[in-house]
């Protein structure tokens, strides 16, 4: 029996975080993400967790990593300008392998941009925003039910791989009320992962010695005997700085590898009417909702359109996109930006079919009929 509840997107994210075990939230108010902080401020103290509003987003990201080292599942949420401010400490979290979840409820950018309107302009920044090479898992749900699922999944992967995970929403999703079947979120009905603990005695403990899965088992700070060091500098297994070229190379390769090797397990897409599709629409989040309707409208007109909705944006579903490209006549990538994910689709499709774009960065969503028009144009052999 389904148990239906009407939920507000941003609140659903906060509630799911608590379900996943989140017990620390630090943030700084910014539209359209503030309701996540507000909900956390209400819920966390009652769950014996910590809520703190910091002096800015840099501080919030720092506090989250500090709490993560204390052993708490930690999260922060923000939007455009705040996401930019978090970047340096997000890179630090990646380097020191501090599990945490960073939510970015995307609005229109650049700069202060369009604070109350949706955007999808941080598809690339989520991965490349902080300096240096890296691979950070980035998930992007498409409805309120999925906001809950993806929030939990984000925490699980963060803990499993000891990495920051970015959860992308957009203004429409964050501010949307939708029915959620809460049955799947009852205790014991969903998977919850916790970070692994060291399985060696204190004398043998090396905080940054990776396991077979390339993930180190760093003890929460305060665990008697398991003292250690962490630094954003390149470091050895003791966590101490090193400039040894072999060690530095291996560190970066491992940090990327530990995420990349789990790509198949992490990959998540929704396919809609793709079986016989001749034109594939590849997109995510709010734009995918319009695209779904556009697929139906196109089919009414006799055009075999289909949708691949990407949920795990990074690491990239390279192989799947290539397979889609091989099976269709053309791909259309509509997105609320000036052409970001389309670059990845072009790369992954390896020229197997033409890839078209539909871009917008004015704060308005892309409507189904606009996608339909583009699909019709492509079907007619135009572009």
């Amino acid at each position: 029996m389904a148990k239906l509840e009407l939920k507000y997107g941003n609140h659903a994210c906060a509630e799911a975080a608590i379900l996943a075990g989140c017990r620390f939230y630090a943030g700084y108010p910014i539209t359209p993400s503030s309701e996540i902080a507000e909900k956390m401020a209400e819920l966390l103290p009652k769950k014996r967790g910590v809520f703190i509003q910091m002096e800015d987003e840099i501080a919030a990201m720092g506090a989250v990593v500090g709490a993560s080292f204390a052993g708490l599942k930690s999260m922060t949420a923000t939007s455009g300008p705040g996401f930019s401010l978090k970047q340096e400490n997000l890179g630090y979290a990646f380097m020191v392998e501090a599990p945490c979840v960073v939510v970015n409820v995307q609005r229109g950018g650049p700069s202060t941009g369009l604070p109350t309107q949706p955007g999808q302009q941080e598809i690339m920044q989520s991965l490349w925003g902080t300096h240096g090479d890296k691979l950070i898992p980035v998930f992007y749900p498409g409805n309120v039910q999925e906001i809950m699922e993806e929030t939990i999944r984000a925490f699980n992967w963060a803990e499993r791989l000891r990495t920051p995970v970015v959860l992308l929403l957009d203004e429409v999703l964050g501010h949307m009320r939708e029915t959620v079947d809460v049955e799947q979120f009852e205790e014991g009905k969903f998977e919850v992962w916790n970070r692994k603990m060291p399985d060696v005695p204190p004398e043998e403990y090396l905080p940054y010695r990776p396991g077979e899965d390339d993930v180190p088992a760093i003890a929460p700070y305060g665990t008697p005997g398991y003292r250690g060091h962490a630094t954003g500098l390149h470091h050895d297994y003791t966590g101490f700085p090193t400039t040894n070229p072999e060690m530095c190379q291996e560190l970066i390769e491992r940090l990327i590898r530990k995420v990349q090797r789990k790509q198949p397990e992490m990959e998540k897409n929704e396919f809609y009417k793709m079986d016989d599709a001749e034109i594939a629409i590849i997109t995510f989040g709010t734009t995918a909702r319009a695209a779904k309707t556009a697929v139906d409208l196109a089919r009414e007109k006799g055009i075999k359109a289909g949708l691949m909705r990407v949920v795990t944006v990074w690491p990239s579903p390279e192989k799947t996109i290539e397979d889609v490209a091989k099976g269709v006549e053309a791909i259309l990538v509509p997105e609320l930006n000036m052409g970001q994910y389309v670059l990845e689709v072009e790369r992954c499709s390896r020229g197997a079919c033409p890839v078209y774009r539909l871009n917008r960065a004015n704060g308005k969503i892309i409507y189904p009929n606009e996608i339909l028009e583009k699909v019709e144009e492509i079907a007619r052999g135009g572009k």
């Binding site: 009652k46 769950k47 703190i52 720092g62 506090a63 989250v64 500090g66 400490n89 003292r227 060091h229």
Partner: protein, 283 residues
């Protein structure tokens, strides 16, 4: 570097050695640098207070001063430039039972990290901040900092510094810190006492340590190691004596000791966790 004398023997004589990661030494610090004095004072303070390695976290930002945690055998976090207090806030609030020290520099805490400094002080969170004030950006090779004296030379003030100096203690007091002290790398035992009282204090404790950057600041301003230490001896006076001085004799003299101490204000973690207790129905 190994040591020919067994560790137990050393610890017997110098019990604070138990806090050192000797295998990570020698340190990166230059000969004569004052940071080591502050580090030693902190270790001695912890030892005298009977706080074990397992009870201490040490957090820092970026800079020469911020390299300290690497040599400290506790739970240590070397973070990003200016942001040490934010990481320390998250850690301390999550694990209030950990004695949490922050090692930071004048640039780290007051330039890039100024905002966090003000707000950590305002919250009165129980952190003991050892701020190494060496009047310069040591690590990056000697650029001007918010505490560089007027007229002093730095690589980015080739014609002398013309910006006014921050008075760290006054900033901290105004922002809400409840224990504010100033010591120097020259007055080593006094510094130990100041840090000890800072650790004992429940609330935001700032210990400013006037410390010579011998190699970078000293060279730029034509001061030898000896001259720098001598300068601290000559130009700082205990705060009690300083208070008795008539206004005109205070010029150029810097007071040392406990400059401010207020035990009446509630500490942040305590306030938070008491709230949690109420809300979650006791326990």
């Amino acid at each position: 570097m190994g040591t020919p004398i067994p560790m137990e023997k050393i610890i017997e004589k110098k019990p604070y050695f138990k806090y050192l990661r000797l295998d990570k030494m020698p340190t990166i610090w230059c000969p004569g640098c004052g940071i080591g004095q502050a580090f030693r004072a902190a270790c001695m303070a912890l030892d005298e207070l009977g706080i074990s390695n397992d009870q201490v976290a040490m957090v820092s930002g970026i800079g020469c001063s911020s390299r300290t945690p690497g040599y400290f055998d506790g739970f240590t976090l070397h973070t990003t430039h200016g942001r040490a207090l934010t990481f320390a806030t998250g850690l301390k609030l999550s694990k209030p039972e950990l004695t949490t020290l922050v090692f930071t520099g004048d640039g780290d805490a007051l330039a890039i990290g100024g905002n966090h400094f003000i707000h950590a002080a305002r919250r009165n969170i129980d952190l003991t901040v050892v701020l190494i004030n060496n009047w310069i950006y040591g690590m990056t090779g000697g650029q001007v900092s918010p505490t560089t004296p007027e007229g002093a030379y730095a690589t980015t003030t080739p014609y002398g510094n013309y910006e006014p100096q921050f008075d760290i203690a006054r900033v901290a007091i105004a922002a809400g810190a409840t224990y504010v002290a100033r010591g120097t790398a020259y007055h080593a035992m006094e510094l130990k006492k100041l840090i000890m009282d800072g650790i004992k204090h429940k609330g935001f404790a700032l210990i400013e340590v006037l410390s010579p950057c011998t190699i970078v600041y000293g060279r730029k301003n034509r001061m030898s190691i000896e001259e720098m230490y001598f300068w601290f001896k000559e130009n700082t006076i205990p705060v009690k004596a300083w208070e008795k001085l008539p206004e005109e004799k205070r010029a150029g003299k810097i007071p040392r000791g406990v400059l401010y101490h207020d035990d009446s204000r509630p500490e942040y973690c305590e306030v938070y966790w008491n709230k949690v207790k109420q809300l979650s129905g006791g326990e």
